[in-house]
């Protein structure tokens, strides 16, 4: 019973943070058909912003989150302007998906190395947003930090859903996801929408980075593992499907918690990977993905 509670609690916490990092990638892929490999760097930047604000300046945690959101929004927008904007309209000339995969990857390399130059290779301690632990059930405890992390993730994902379903910009994003040319001919400002979408997705990862920074550390390579996990979640959910990503995030979170409790941390990633490989061979487009239909 203790095991089961531990698995469920940890699984939900992991799932929430995976969802937050992965949903940005899904959003970008669904609208722009870009697999954003710089998303891991946004987690890393978020971690450094958290360290800078919380550890060196003692800023209010909420303000630190907002700061991380703003900084990574700007970096994400700039990333789009550098790595994607020059390629738009050349879809016939270059393999758009492949080339943007490489360009965003290059931006990721750049950001990682700039961080390495600026902050050095050593890990920085990020203090938790909220301290203290909550005892859930006979020795199974969860820190308030993790609880806040899960809460904020769910809140942000909900806000994203509302944004897409209710606002004018949300309509525009979904229109572009359905049919780029039709959206453009109806007056959707694609050249502004692309950077904004990428900025938004990066900002979500940046907020995730502040939380993850406190769980692990802030370091130049802090984004690598979250990127890998987000990739697994995104592929499993079906690229471009927001609901699929959510299911996949919690499924992967629960599977990881199960492996950690019952088998041991060393084999968690391989087991997870094998399970996903099997799912993918059975369902090549992930849980909720579709070959080329409208998404989001």
């Amino acid at each position: 019973m203790t095991d089961i509670v531990a698995i469920i609690v940890n699984g939900l916490v992991y799932g929430s943070i995976y969802g937050l990092v992965a949903i940005g990638m899904t959003l970008i892929y669904g609208t722009l058909r870009i697999l954003d490999m710089s998303q891991g760097s946004m987690v890393m930047i978020g971690g450094y912003v958290g360290w800078w604000a919380l550890a060196t300046h003692g800023v209010n945690p909420l303000l630190a989150l907002v700061l991380a959101f703003v900084v990574t929004f700007v970096v994400g927008t700039l990333t789009e302007l550098v790595s994607v904007q020059p390629l738009i309209g050349r879809r016939g000339e270059v393999d758009f998906e492949m080339v943007t995969f490489i360009t965003t990857f290059a931006v990721g390399i750049l950001l990682t190395n700039v961080a390495l130059q600026h902050f050095g290779p050593f890990q920085k301690n990020v203090p938790p947003i909220v301290s203290g632990n909550l005892d859930v059930y006979h020795g199974v405890s969860i820190s308030y930090h993790e609880l806040t992390m899960a809460g904020v993730s769910v809140l942000l994902m909900g806000a994203l859903g509302l944004f897409l379903a209710r606002t004018r910009w949300g309509f525009a994003v979904r229109a572009v996801a359905q049919d780029l040319d039709a959206a453009r001919s109806l007056g959707v400002p694609v050249s502004r929408l692309y950077p904004a979408t990428m900025g938004l997705a990066s900002a979500l990862a940046g907020v995730g980075g502040v939380f993850l920074g406190a769980l692990y550390f802030a370091s130049p390579t802090a984004g690598d593992l979250p990127l890998l996990q987000a990739l697994i979640v995104v592929v499993l959910g079906g690229l471009g499907s927001l609901t699929g990503t959510l299911y996949a995030a919690y499924l992967v979170g629960l599977m990881q918690a199960f492996c950690e409790v019952e088998i041991g941390t060393t084999w968690t990633l391989p087991i997870l990977y094998t399970a996903i490989l099997i799912i993918l061979v059975i369902r090549p487009y992930g849980l909720k993905g579709s070959p080329s239909e409208a998404r989001l």
Binding site: Y29, L35, V82, S83, P86, L87, E93, V94, E97, M98, V99, F101, I102, T103, F105, A106, V107, I109, L110, T112, N113, V114, L116, Q117, T221, D224, L228, L231, I232, V234, V235, L239, T266, L269, P270, Y273, I276, L277, L280, V281, P284, Y285, G286, P291
Partner: protein, 335 residues
């Protein structure tokens, strides 16, 4: 550099032949150990890049797991060299290559079911997982983060100069052989099948080409060469650690392939040379190496999509078109 043997003029063959002779004679003239080490290391990377280019560029499968295949070859060869000491080093390296080929073929099957970006994600995660397991292996098979620190290698007990020369020649021979094989494969039945599966899988299958068999062969060949490259690296450096297969070496290799020109025969050679030169110049500023390489990658992908080889062939086409235009101008076409 079209890669067709029949289309090559005798002059071209003469050029290729003399280039090979020059490459072979080079270490007899030049013996600086520092730069020779850099050159020999670059040769190993080039072998890996040739193998990767075959799958990534020619077959068009977005395989980003090649470094894991390479590392598995190195681990396979290293394990044999350390634990089966009776075995000649060359055989151990070939066995490592075979091991890599088998893993690579196994990786080919799921990629058959997936498309484009899904393939890259799957193979990318495969590479990460292999690195993670090698790093955290609880039974000490891979040596964890220390890897294999002392491996005898192909030529133990040799003076430094002849050591570097010996490796230089072995690797150069493998490079020349694999370039020729790739150039031949490109215009062979297999190469054409691979490229047409890349461009139109449904049509190719309908014309009676077996996509599964073709891709399995491609992955097998590429995996074998990558594994041999891994064994070579281990043998030359006399050590191997997981840092050889992380994101950093992968980004350097991708940069090399893209700068040279994906899917071409000479692309990996040119790309590896250019990036190695850049890295050597920046050796005193290690932090800037990757920053500059990342920026170069970005600029090349956006502004020179075909890489250097693509640029050269486009320029030469433009020049010949321009020459033709000039000769046409003598008698203007009537409309």
């Amino acid at each position: 550099m079209t890669g067709t043997f029949s289309g090559l003029s005798p002059t071209r063959w003469l050029m290729i032949g003399s280039a090979i002779v020059l490459v072979a004679l080079f270490p007899l003239v030049y013996t600086d150990p520092y730069y020779m080490t850099i050159i020999v290391t670059a040769e190993v990377v080039l072998i890996l890049n040739i193998s990767w280019n075959f799958v990534l560029g020619m077959a068009g499968v977005w395989n980003f797991g090649q470094l894991a295949i390479y590392a598995l070859g190195a681990y396979g060869a290293g394990w044999l060299m350390l634990h089966q000491t009776w075995m000649p080093a060359m055989i151990a390296i070939l066995c490592g290559g075979l091991f890599s080929a088998v893993i690579s073929v196994l990786l080919a099957f799921p990629t058959l079911r997936l498309f484009g970006i899904y393939t890259s994600l799957l193979t990318f995660s495969f590479a990460q997982v292999v690195q993670y397991v090698a790093l955290n292996d609880p039974r000490g098979l891979t040596g964890g983060s220390y890897g294999y620190p002392t491996v005898p290698g192909l030529f133990p007990n040799m003076s430094q100069t002849s050591y570097l020369r010996a490796y230089y020649w072995v690797f150069a021979a493998v490079i020349v052989a694999s370039c020729l094989v790739v150039a031949w494969l490109r215009q062979s039945h297999l190469g054409i099948a691979l490229r047409s599966i890349r461009d139109s899988p449904g049509y190719t299958a309908a014309r009676g080409v077996n996509p599964r068999m073709t891709r399995v062969i491609a992955f097998g060949l590429s995996g074998f060469l990558a594994g041999v490259a891994g064994g070579f690296y281990l043998s030359f450096e006399q050590s191997f650690t997981t840092s050889q297969m992380g994101l950093t070496p992968m980004s350097i290799d991708v940069t090399m392939l893209v700068i040279g020109g994906l899917g071409t025969v000479m692309g990996p050679v040119i790309g590896t040379a250019i990036v190695t030169v850049i890295q050597t110049i920046l050796i005193d500023y290690p932090g800037w190496q990757l920053t500059i390489l990342g920026a170069t990658l970005l600029v090349i992908v956006i502004f020179v999509p075909g890489g250097v080889v693509g640029l050269i062939s486009r320029t030469s086409k433009r020049v010949s078109a321009w020459v033709e235009e000039d000769s046409e101008a003598v008698e203007p076409a009537e409309t």
